[in-house]
């Protein structure tokens, strides 16, 4: 998006949380800024948040992920306020480790366990956009798959049958892998929360915002978000 276009709308205020061990916080901030958001760095130990339109839980290994991935981050001081905002309708995006944190918080259903092949996988994957009915995915077409990179050891999505049925019924599955890389139930790569304002996904849209370094299919998500929130 050209800067002039972004200027024309109200600036969207996005916050990116840094936990000890987050390592995609900068990448998310760069992608958001490029899409036109004004980005605030948030610290895990904070208990108050400024006014925000979007909160991003970035990828990484929060607190080392020596316990269950994301389990400690879900109990970080900042999270009580994040949950309050999410319930009040503020957009929350959890990428990779951020998705794991969202499942630990219960903001999206299910959980993420070790990849079926037991190895860390870093590779571009094709994704089917399973629903356009969200502020995150409205910018995509559902006909053609998109390509985003994954980089995780614990991205195997599991979900009890009843909750899965509800996800399907409510059209809350956002992305499915075209070729399931990690054993995820239903090849699910990303799911929406009940209010459709929370998205957790394993692939990294922030790494696909530049034709030089990983394609541009991630840009559409940020542009879609900025467009919807601005």
């Amino acid at each position: 998006m050209e800067p002039e276009q972004a200027e024309a709308r109200l600036t969207v205020r996005a916050g990116v949380i840094t936990f000890p061990g987050s390592n995609c916080d900068r990448d998310a901030a760069v992608a958001l800024a490029a899409a036109g958001a004004s980005v605030t760095e948030l610290w895990h130990a904070d208990t108050e948040l400024p006014r925000l339109d979007l909160i991003v839980l970035p990828g990484g290994f929060s607190y080392g992920d020596y316990l269950r991935c994301g389990a400690i981050a879900a109990r970080a001081p900042i999270m009580a306020e994040v949950v309050r905002r999410a319930e009040a309708g503020v957009a929350v995006l959890g990428i990779c480790n951020g998705f794991q944190v969202l499942t630990e918080l219960g903001l999206v259903p299910g959980g993420l366990i070790r990849n079926a092949g037991l190895k860390f996988i870093c590779a571009p994957v094709e994704l089917a956009v399973a629903t356009r009915r969200s502020i995150f995915t409205a910018g995509y077409g559902t006909e053609q798959p998109i390509t985003l990179p994954i980089a995780h050891h614990d991205g195997n999505y599991v979900c009890p049958a009843d909750k899965l049925a509800r996800l399907e019924d409510e059209d809350r599955i956002a992305f499915r892998y075209v070729a399931n890389p990690n054993g995820s139930t239903g090849a699910i790569a990303g799911v929406l929360g009940p209010g459709r304002n929370v998205l957790g996904l394993m692939p990294h849209p922030e790494r696909a915002c530049d034709p030089r370094t990983g394609g541009t299919d991630g840009c559409l998500m940020f542009q879609s978000l900025i467009g919807a929130l601005g």
């Binding site: 000890p20 061990g21 390592n23 900068r26 760069v30 860390f120 996988i121 980089a151």
Partner: protein, 736 residues
């Protein structure tokens, strides 16, 4: 060793500390008395081969280390070069061979952790990791276990700390069966006016310990790295350090944040020989003394002794000299990141290291003689027997060419390494332009249109056949790989892996390789700015192949003018740059297809090397060439096959008229060559530029179709070749 009257240190104790009789005599002279146990431990690690370079230092002097763009050469924690726009690249490669053989996961992981600290201790944010791995024969019973552990360890550390692992190399040879090589390279970026050095200064300034607590792991790691392996090596598992990449991430962020204040005078990581080497080296560089209260050091276990504290190689620790009065700033930033930050001593004018324990002096050693006057040996050396050239007509073709290509592309040397690099996060930081699998990796300098090109290279079989040629070739290969993406090669870091220097033949290999490296570095303006020597890579008297791994760094001034391995379309002429005489001696073809591991390696003319490379780089910079691959292991047809697999488009290769030995043409490993694919409309300009530069270049085929063909025949379908090429490593690793 002779027992000395009135000396409490028994000859056995001295020998256990890896000190020779002569070295111990020198310690007695320096101290004027027998050392106590703590002091003996200090001399032991500081004078170990690993820390003192006592067998190599004399010979390393011949390497060129200067150029107008070199900001800091060898001697600091890492080398530094100017990469323009006020930025500098900080980089180094280091071995972690012995620990990785004993305990592959932790050995490899802490190798990565150590090299990261060498870079960020200088103020740079690490932006890329590479690794050069040498395993034993693929069918050796230990190999799979070692690959699995090493790859998981590298990934486990790099992925967690969030620095992309963008490249490297992996190869197999029975000479590494009992002693694998794990060489890790790290590259960081720093504004030129924000570089930090490890030179203690300011009498009275506090010496501050930051990071993880000290435990009993890794004690005598440096000494272990300075001895050969034997059947008792397994018992040395406790000397391997244990890595914690999460703490390293906190340490990285805390250090970089603290560096934004004015608090730091000097900083050095506690790597090999831990607190001992970091304190001695900082004091030696600053020509000052240091006193420390060892009971203040944060400890992970109870009951630790001063000896253990000084020799521990616990990971993720830094030693800092702060400006007096700035301790509070450091404590506040470390507390934010949840790290210990403790003043353990201060800088003195005494020129000595004074160690106290509960208020009492328990060790006192003058610094300069320990750091500066360690013994230097010019050990006896013996030249390798001369390998004879092998004429192509004396290599009878055992299989047809297409079968040979299939076998090479699906064999241990050339099969796809995807199974390995898919386990490494090579995209975090979102600046990776070219990841693993090509000639050089390219990482964008954040926020700019410029890039760093990075590679690691060595052809050990050449080094064994002819150390001088092999050393030269390793440097040229790195230079060529950087050139092949369009980068200007700037400097190298080296990791010199050899057997025991006490064996004259090995010492001859070492000095031969250095001689060849020095020649190539001079001819190519490609100085050495950092590095590491790893001797004693042998088990039960069996030495590894001489392996001087070269880590090369180049600069791409404009990422829009860059070349890739994959050609974009069918119908493009293929242009071979450089001369082909068909050199099969020491080639992969000769070894893998004919079962003959022999012959002289291909010679290199450094003037031609430079001329060919300079032409290719200019063609890329002028936008005339966007597809380029250097010719290396396996020669011309292998290079073309790799380009075709990356493209998903086939290619036809010509056979020269009256070709006496198709194998020599297709698989000969003549040096200084590149294969280009160009737009048909640009062909005349490319060839004219070559002629003008005095470089041999000619059209040898064209892209198109879905198969590799030889003069229109002998088709190998790309789908089949992909399956063979991609299948080898996964099937090795999943075999029952």
């Amino acid at each position: 060793m002779n027992a000395r009257p009135n000396d409490p240190n028994s000859p056995e104790l001295i020998a256990q500390h890896g000190l020779s009789d002569e070295e111990y005599g020198r310690i007695l002279e320096i101290l004027g008395r027998p050392p106590n146990l703590v002091e003996l431990g200090i001399f032991s690690v500081m004078w170990s081969e690993h820390c003192s370079y006592k067998s190599s230092r004399h010979w390393l002097k011949q390497l060129p280390t200067e150029a107008p763009w070199v900001i800091c050469g060898p001697g600091e924690n890492a080398g530094i070069v100017d990469v323009g726009d006020g930025m500098a690249a900080v980089f180094k490669i280091e071995s972690h061979n012995h620990p990785s053989f004993i305990e592959p996961y932790q050995g490899a992981a802490t190798g990565v952790g150590g090299i990261l600290r060498d870079v960020f201790t200088m103020g740079a944010r690490p932006v890329a990791l590479l690794n050069s791995l040498r395993f034993g024969a693929a069918d050796h019973p230990k190999t799979r276990h070692l690959i699995d552990g090493v790859v998981a360890g590298i990934g486990g550390y790099g992925n967690c700390i969030g620095v992309p692992t963008v490249g490297g190399e992996t190869s197999f040879h029975p000479a590494y069966n009992g002693n694998i090589l794990v060489n890790a390279m790290c590259v960081g970026l720093v504004p030129q006016d924000e570089i930090f050095y490890a030179r203690a200064a300011g009498i009275g300034n506090p010496v501050v310990y930051v990071g993880a607590k000290t435990g009993r792991d890794g004690i005598h790691g440096a000494t272990m790295a300075s001895a050969e392996f034997n059947e008792e090596t397994e018992a040395k598992r406790p000397t391997v350090q244990v890595g914690d990449p999460f703490t390293e991430k906190l340490l990285l962020e805390a250090c970089l944040e603290l560096m934004q204040t004015d608090a730091i005078v000097a900083i050095q990581d506690m790597g090999a020989a831990g607190l001992t080497s970091s304190s001695f080296e900082m004091a030696a560089r600053g020509e000052v003394g240091i006193e420390m209260d060892l009971d203040r050091v944060p400890m992970r276990e109870t009951g630790m002794t001063p000896y253990e504290i000084m020799l521990s190689e616990s990971q993720e620790r830094m030693l800092l000299v702060l400006r007096a009065g700035e301790e509070e700033v450091a404590r506040r930033i470390c507390a934010k990141w949840g790290l210990d930050c403790v003043t353990v001593g201060r800088v003195t004018a005494s020129g000595a290291m004074v160690l106290r324990w509960q208020g009492e002096v328990i060790g006192e050693v003058p610094i300069a003689p320990v750091s500066g006057s360690s013994p230097i040996y010019q050990r006896p050396r013996e030249a390798s027997p001369r390998a004879l050239p092998i004429a192509a007509q004396n290599v009878p073709a055992s299989v047809d060419e297409a079968s040979a290509l299939r076998q090479l592309m699906a064999g241990p040397d050339l099969a796809s390494r995807r199974w390995i690099w898919q386990q490494y996060d090579h995209q975090v930081m979102a600046d990776t332009v070219l990841g693993p699998g090509g000639d050089a990796a390219v990482v964008r300098i954040h926020g700019s249109k410029r890039g760093l090109a990075l590679t690691t290279d060595c052809t050990p079989r050449y080094c064994r056949a002819d150390p001088v040629q092999g050393g030269m070739q390793a440097v040229c290969e790195a230079w060529r790989n950087l050139t092949a993406v369009g980068a200007t090669p700037l400097a190298i870091t080296d990791c010199l892996n050899f057997g025991s220097p006490e064996n004259p033949r090995i010492m001859g290999q070492f000095t031969g390789c250095l001689e060849g490296m020095a020649k190539a570095c001079r001819a190519l303006d490609f100085p050495v700015v950092s590095g590491n020597v790893s001797f004693y890579n042998e088990t039960e008297g069996q030495a590894i192949l001489p392996t001087p791994t070269i880590g090369g760094l180049g600069l791409l001034p404009d990422l829009d003018r860059m070349a890739r391995l994959a050609y974009p379309a069918a119908g493009q002429p293929l242009v071979l740059v450089g001369e082909s005489v068909g050199w099969l001696g020491c080639s992969l073809y000769l070894r893998e297809i004919c079962g003959r591991e022999e012959g002289a390696p291909p010679p290199i003319d450094l003037a031609i090397e430079r001329r060919n490379g300079d032409l290719v780089r200019r063609l890329i910079a002028d936008g005339l060439v966007r597809t380029c691959h250097d010719l290396a292991d396996g020669g011309l047809w292998v290079a073309l096959a790799e380009m075709a697999l990356a493209s998903g488009i086939g290619a036809d290769l010509d056979l020269p008229e009256a070709c006496e030995s198709p194998a020599a043409w297709l698989f000969g490993e003549d040096q200084s060559r590149y294969l280009l694919a160009v737009e048909p409309a640009d062909l005349d300009r490319v060839l004219a530029a070559a002629t003008a530069a005095g470089v041999i270049a000619r059209v040898v085929g064209r892209t198109g179709g879905d198969a590799l063909t030889l003069a229109g025949a002998n088709a190998i379908c790309l789908t089949e070749l992909t399956k063979l090429h991609e299948g080898w490593l996964p099937s090795l690793m999943s075999a029952a």
